[in-house]
């Protein structure tokens, strides 16, 4: 790996000195901040006005939907749900003002509610009374008093479902700028150098091909990751501005609640993903005559990756094991699992290994291609 540090250092300096490249990773995120904050501020305030009815959902028992009264001129409905409680409380159907009663274990009934929401807390009390009265009746009629029946009240905020919005959006928000930035920087680092005639001077030096390629990949990875970090960082700032203005930001960062461990793991996977994309970007760039051609050639990769991240946005609950084998889509699932605190060690290891294996395979292909006449003429 002789010379990799020098190549990396030179490439970083080159990017920092090139104003047109700087536009991509500083000015664009700032513009995005203005756009997202602007859109958010235009949204109607969402402090409960949009909810037309309140609901007490039941899981595990079959009940007909019926209206049990009204509160603040809004009807209260009892409804049965079939979705697993852990998934249902993360869904769009379940509002902050609602309550879910889980009857799946009749010896231990759980009521999910939002302690911070007055309506939800009120409905929780009603649901709790209903459960206890029903059990009393059951006890009296069926003589099953010896069975211990408890009612657990579960505050959803404490159960940390506050990340559901960011979990849905993060893969898309990370992958889009990441692929776009890598397409930009990787195109310039090799195809751009070839067009300018500066690539051959480095090829003629005694630096081994692996060092040359790795130096370029590392610089593309770091600068792209940094740029994507700026995007997300600015969106978080934007969300805080929206929060102060009394509106929810369109990207839903306001409800983020993550631990240091979650952040570090997300960062680790982002680094792995970035390294894979950079490898791919450099490989494509190697076969192109100039940066424009390389950027055009990378559009399908950017689109496919963005599509995979968008598909993951509409997925709730857990995914089957085979989904964790689909490249790019699998890392979106891991991001979501990490944020929803349901990541499994096996899936995480499998995704990390698959990313590394893919990266090494692309790197080997790049090194083989480096000797190709098309690259050298």
């Amino acid at each position: 790996m002789r010379g990799v540090g020098k190549i990396f250092h030179h490439e970083m300096k080159k990017i920092i000195k090139e104003k047109s490249l700087l536009f991509g990773f500083i000015l664009l995120p700032v513009l995005t901040l203005f756009i997202t904050v602007g859109i958010s501020l235009l949204q109607p305030k969402t402090s409960g006005e949009s909810v037309e009815t309140y609901s007490i959902f039941f899981y595990g028992i079959d009940v007909e939907s019926y209206n049990i009264g009204s509160l603040d001129d809004k009807q209260i409905w009892l409804q049965a749900v079939e979705e697993e409680p852990s998934e249902f409380i993360c869904s769009e159907e379940f509002h902050k003002s609602d309550v879910l009663v889980d009857f799946s274990d009749l010896t231990h009934v759980t009521i999910y509610y939002h302690a911070s929401n007055t309506i939800s807390s009120y409905l929780k009390m009603s649901a709790e009374s209903f459960v206890r009265e029903s059990f009393d009746m059951s006890y009296k009629t069926q003589k099953r008093g010896e069975i211990f029946r408890s009612v657990e009240l579960m505050d959803i905020n404490e159960k940390d479902t506050s990340n559901r919005m960011i979990a849905m959006l993060l893969p898309y928000m990370l992958i889009l700028p990441l692929t776009a930035n890598i397409a930009n920087f990787a195109s310039d680092t090799i195809a751009g150098d070839k067009a300018r005639g500066t690539f051959y001077q480095v090829m003629l030096s005694p630096v081994p091909p692996l060092s040359l390629i790795m130096g370029k990949i590392f610089s593309v990875s770091l600068i792209s990751l940094f740029s994507s970090g700026i995007y997300i960082g600015l969106d978080v700032i934007g969300s805080k501005i929206c929060e102060k203005a009394g509106v929810e930001d369109v990207f839903g960062f306001a409800g983020v609640s993550v631990t240091v461990g979650q952040v570090l793991l997300i960062l680790l996977y982002a680094v792995l993903l970035c390294y894979l994309f950079s490898n791919l970007g450099v490989l494509i760039s190697l076969f192109c005559k100039d940066a424009n051609q390389a950027q055009t050639a990378q559009i399908p990769v950017t689109l496919l990756c963005t599509l995979a991240s968008m598909m993951s946005m509409f997925r709730f609950g857990t995914s089957p094991l085979q989904h964790y084998l689909i490249p790019v889509y699998n890392i979106c699932l891991i991001f979501q699992d990490l944020l929803n605190a349901r990541a499994k060690m096996g899936n995480m290891a499998m995704v990390a290994i698959s990313l590394l294996v893919l990266s090494v395979a692309v790197l080997i292909l790049t090194l083989v291609s480096y000797k190709n006449e098309k690259v050298r003429t």
């Binding site: 005639g197 500066t198 003629l204 000797k371 006449e373």
Partner: protein
């Protein structure tokens, strides 16, 4: 000393035989001029010599060591400069010298010593803190040359080194090449300027349609063809060896 034996290069993409059979002997302490019409295979031969391209067959030896086995070591002893090779425009000559010197594993002291010497010679010293992309064509070429020679190479390969330069810069480069020759370096020049060959070269190699048709001293060239001047000898060799088939779409720029 460089020995080239039956060098051949066929480009896989379009199956063009850019170099069919080139054999040359190039000695240290001499200037070797590589001549040939456009599309003859000079640049492809030089690209193979500089390790940019791999020959389809044939062998290249640097001081008896075959190129394929010792590519990285040999690259550290070569300098290759063509009009196509440029330096990063965002950097100053000082920064470029630091970078390229580092790639050749030169110490800071050695870089500074060589940089001062070369910058002084080529008149770059006062512009050493200015960005390369703000330079004129001649200044760019001089800077490229200085950076290219920074690692004190034993073999210097120049593809039309004075092309498009003013007479003053041409003279400066020519006199530096003569200085390098006196230092015992092996210099290979590709040029269309036969006058330059007569003035500077010790030996000459002529390539026509991808084949070497002459390799000897400059003084031998004209008598060997029974003519009086280098120009006449070159034209005669070309007419005798040129295949009538039109050379269209040849790979490699000449």
């Amino acid at each position: 000393m460089i020995t080239i034996e039956h060098l051949k290069k066929t480009f896989k993409k379009n199956k063009v035989e850019a170099v069919k059979d080139v054999s040359l002997e190039i000695f240290d302490g001499q200037i070797f001029a590589l001549l040939g019409p456009n599309g003859a295979g000079k640049t492809t031969t030089m690209r193979m010599l500089s390790t940019l391209l791999t020959p389809t067959s044939g062998k290249i030896f640097f001081d008896g060591k075959e190129l394929g086995e010792n590519e990285e070591k040999i690259r550290s002893r070569i300098a290759f400069l063509t009009n196509e090779i440029r330096l990063d425009g965002q950097f100053t000559p000082d920064e470029l010298a630091d970078y390229y010197g580092g790639l050749y594993e030169m110490t800071s002291e050695k870089i500074n010593e060589r940089r001062d010497e070369l910058f002084e010679y080529f008149g770059i010293s006062e512009f050493r803190k200015r960005r390369y992309d703000t330079f004129s064509t001649g200044m760019k070429q001089k800077t490229s040359l200085a950076i290219c020679l920074l690692h004190d190479p034993d073999t210097i390969i120049f593809d039309e080194p004075t092309n498009g330069l003013d007479i003053l810069t041409q003279q400066l480069i020519e006199s530096y090449l003569l200085k390098l020759k006196e230092e015992g370096k092996c210099i290979i020049l590709s040029t269309h300027i036969l006058d330059l060959v007569g003035r500077m070269a010790d030996r000459v190699g002529i390539i026509v349609d991808g084949r070497s048709v002459f390799c000897g001293t400059v003084s031998e060239l004209a008598p060997s063809q029974g003519v009086e001047t280098i120009d006449q000898a070159f034209i005669k060799l070309y007419k005798e060896n040129h295949e009538e088939k039109a050379i269209i779409g040849r790979h490699g720029k000449e």
